[in-house]
C-alpha cells in the first residue's frame, strides 16, 4: 500500500505506523503509514487542511496521537516499552526523543528577548549541558553557516524575516538533531527573502546526513530539492513518488487537480 521508493533493509529514521490524529469528530491523520530513510529529503505537499502541519507536529511531539506508533530510528517516540508492551510516553521520554528532532516554524518563533546567539545557546546549555564557551562557539559557527556572522548580538526585532528564519534554523541545528522538520518556512516571508532561506536549506541538504521533512507550497523547490514528494489529501498520502514522477506524471485525478490549481495561482 505504501511503497516508499527509499525503503531498504535498514531501519528507517522515521516510521509512522497507522498513525491517527483526531480533533473531536475531525480526523486529521487517518491511519497514516510513512517511512523516511536516513538522510532522505521528503517534501510534503497538499491542499490546506490536509494534515501536513499535523504530521510535523506529531513527529515533534507537540501533539499527541490517538492511534498508531511513531518510531525514530527504531525507537518508539510516542510510546515507551514497559514490560512486554508499549505504553504512552511520559514527559521525560518525550523530551529525550525530541532531542533527535529539530523543527523550524512558519513564523520563526524566536525568543524575542534573546539575541540571535542567545537563541542558539539556550537549549544546548540547559538541555545538553554544554558550557557557555562551547555553546557560544557552536552557535557562532552555525550562525556563520547561515550567513549571519555579523548579526550574533542582534535581537529578532532588529532582523529581517529572512534573517530571523535563518536564526531559527541555526537554533534548531544547535541541538544536533538527526531529523529536521520545516513547516512552510518561507511562506511568511516577502518573496525576495525566500531565496536566502532556501539556499541555507539547500546547503544543509548537500553537506549533512540530515533527514528532512518539509512542508512547502513551493513546487519548484520541492522538485529540485526533494528525493521524494508526498501528496497529502484528507489526512492520508494520496500519492507519492520521485519529483519527476509526481510532478511529471501524476497518477491520481486529485493530484492533477491540485497541481493545476497551484500552477494557476503562480
Amino acid at each position: 500500500m505504501n511503497e516508499s521508493p527509499a525503503s531498504s533493509s535498514e531501519t528507517p529514521m522515521v516510521r509512522f505506523e497507522r498513525v491517527s490524529k483526531r480533533y473531536g469528530a475531525l480526523t486529521v491523520l487517518d491511519q497514516l503509514d510513512l517511512d523516511v530513510a536516513s538522510g532522505e529529503k521528503v517534501a510534503i505537499i497538499g491542499p490546506s487542511g490536509s494534515g501536513k502541519t499535523t504530521v510535523l507536529r506529531v513527529l515533534m511531539a507537540l501533539e499527541r496521537i490517538d492511534d498508531g506508533v511513531i518510531h525514530i530510528d527504531g525507537e518508539p517516540l510516542t510510546h515507551m516499552p514497559q514490560g512486554d508492551s508499549l505504553v504512552p510516553a511520559d514527559a521525560r521520554h518525550l523530551r529525550k526523543m525530541r532531542g533527535h528532532i529539530g523543527m523550524v516554524f512558519q513564523h520563526f518563533n524566536l525568543f524575542p528577548h534573546m539575541s540571535a546567539v542567545q537563541n542558539c545557546m539556550e537549549a544546548p546549555i540547559s538541555v545538553l549541558g554544554l558550557g557557555k564557551e562551547e555553546a557560544h562557539a557552536r552557535a557562532a559557527e552555525l550562525l556563520t553557516m547561515v550567513g549571519l556572522a555579523d548579526k550574533l548580538d542582534h535581537h529578532p526585532a532588529q532582523l529581517s524575516g529572512g534573517q530571523q528564519q535563518r536564526v531559527a534554523i541555526a537554533r534548531a541545528l544547535a541541538m544536533r538533531p538527526r531529523v529536521m522538520l520545516f513547516d512552510e518556512v518561507t511562506s511568511a516571508l516577502d518573496p525576495e527573502l525566500c531565496g536566502e532561506v532556501l539556499n541555507v536549506i539547500r546547503e544543509l541538504g548537500s553537506a549533512h546526513q540530515l533527514t528532512m521533512l518539509m512542508v512547502t507550497h513551493q513546487m519548484g523547490f520541492a522538485r529540485e530539492f526533494a528525493d521524494r514528494v508526498c501528496f497529502f489529501d484528507a489526512g492520508r498520502i494520496a500519492e507519492q513518488g520521485s519529483p519527476e514522477e509526481l510532478f511529471g506524471n501524476p497518477q491520481h485525478e486529485r493530484t492533477r487537480q491540485f497541481l493545476r490549481a497551484v500552477m494557476e495561482a503562480i
Binding site: F111, P112, H113, S126, A157
Partner: protein, 260 residues
C-alpha cells in the same frame, strides 16, 4: 529634577511616555511651588509633622508592596502549576481578597484575629492587609501576563527539549515581566492610596496626622493642600520608577520595529 533624567532618555519611540511623565511632573512641581509661596506659613507650621506621618505611610506602602508581590507570585505559581488542593487554596485566596474590601480585611486582621489568640501590631496588620489585598489583584495581573505570551513560544521551547520549568523561567517570564509592569504600577499606586486606611487602626500615618492637626488648628485648606501634594509626589515617584523600569525592560526585549 528626577523627571528630566527619564525625559532625556527618550530617544526611542517608547520615549514619549517618560517625556509625558516629565511634563506632568514639571506641571505639578510648578503648582507645588505656587502653593509654597502662597502659604509659606502653612508649610512652616505643618510640614515637619506631616512628613513624620508620610514616613509611616511610606513604610506601610513599601512593606505592603513587598507582601503583595510575594503573595502574587505564590498564588500565581500555585494556580498555574501546583497540585489541585494547593490550586484551590490559591483560587480561594484570590477570590476572597478581591471580593471583599480592604477595610474589612484590615479590621479582621486587627480586631478579629486577636479573639482567636493572634495579635498583630498595627504596622504588621496594616502591611499584611494591604499586601494580601493588592497581592490578590497582582496574581490576576501575573496570570494574565503569562497567558498573554503566545503558545508558539512554549512550542518553540518544547521543540528544543526545554523542560516546563526552564521554559517558564527563561522564555515565558522574561516576556511576561515586561507586560506586567504597567498594571503593577497601577496596583502600587492603589496600595499607596489605600494606606490611609491604617489611620483607622491607630497608626499615625499621613492621613491620621492631617486629621489630628486639623482638629487642633482648623487650618483645613493648608493642611489638606499639603497632604494632597505629598500623596501626589509619592505616587509620581512610583510612576516614574515604573516608567524607568518599563523602559529598561522594554529595551531589552526590543519589541516592535525599534532598532539600535
Amino acid at each position: 529634577m528626577p523627571a528630566n533624567r527619564t525625559g532625556s532618555a527618550g530617544t526611542s519611540p517608547t520615549g514619549s511616555s517618560p517625556a509625558a511623565g516629565a511634563l506632568a511632573a514639571a506641571a505639578i512641581l510648578g503648582f507645588a511651588g505656587g502653593l509654597v509661596v502662597s502659604s509659606f506659613a502653612g508649610f512652616r507650621d505643618f510640614l515637619p509633622e506631616l512628613l513624620r506621618g508620610a514616613a509611616v505611610t511610606v513604610q506601610v506602602a513599601a512593606g505592603g508592596s513587598l507582601v503583595a508581590v510575594a503573595m502574587a507570585l505564590l498564588a500565581t505559581a500555585a494556580r498555574l502549576y501546583a497540585p489541585l488542593p494547593l490550586r484551590w487554596l490559591a483560587v480561594a485566596y484570590v477570590e476572597l481578597f478581591r471580593g471583599t474590601s480592604a477595610l474589612v480585611q484590615l479590621f479582621w486582621l486587627f480586631f478579629v484575629l486577636p479573639m482567636f489568640g493572634i495579635s498583630l501590631s498595627p504596622m504588621t496588620a496594616g502591611i499584611a492587609a494591604l499586601g494580601l489585598n493588592i497581592g490578590a489583584y497582582g496574581s490576576e495581573v501575573m496570570r494574565g501576563a503569562i497567558e498573554a505570551v503566545p503558545r508558539s513560544q512554549w512550542e518553540a521551547a518544547s521543540a528544543l527539549s526545554l523542560g516546563r520549568f526552564r521554559t517558564l523561567r527563561r522564555v515565558i517570564l522574561p516576556q511576561a515581566f515586561v507586560t506586567m509592569i504597567p498594571p503593577w504600577g497601577n496596583l502600587f499606586i492603589e496600595l499607596l492610596k489605600a494606606t490611609s486606611l491604617v489611620s483607622l487602626i491607630t497608626l499615625s500615618d499621613l492621613a491620621f496626622k492631617a486629621q489630628q492637626l486639623n482638629q487642633t488648628t482648623l487650618r483645613t485648606v493648608e493642611i489638606f493642600g499639603i497632604v494632597l501634594l505629598i500623596y501626589l509626589a509619592l505616587s509620581l515617584l512610583v510612576t516614574l520608577a515604573m516608567r524607568a523600569l518599563e523602559h529598561r525592560a522594554g529595551r531589552r526585549l526590543l519589541r516592535g520595529k525599534e532598532t539600535g
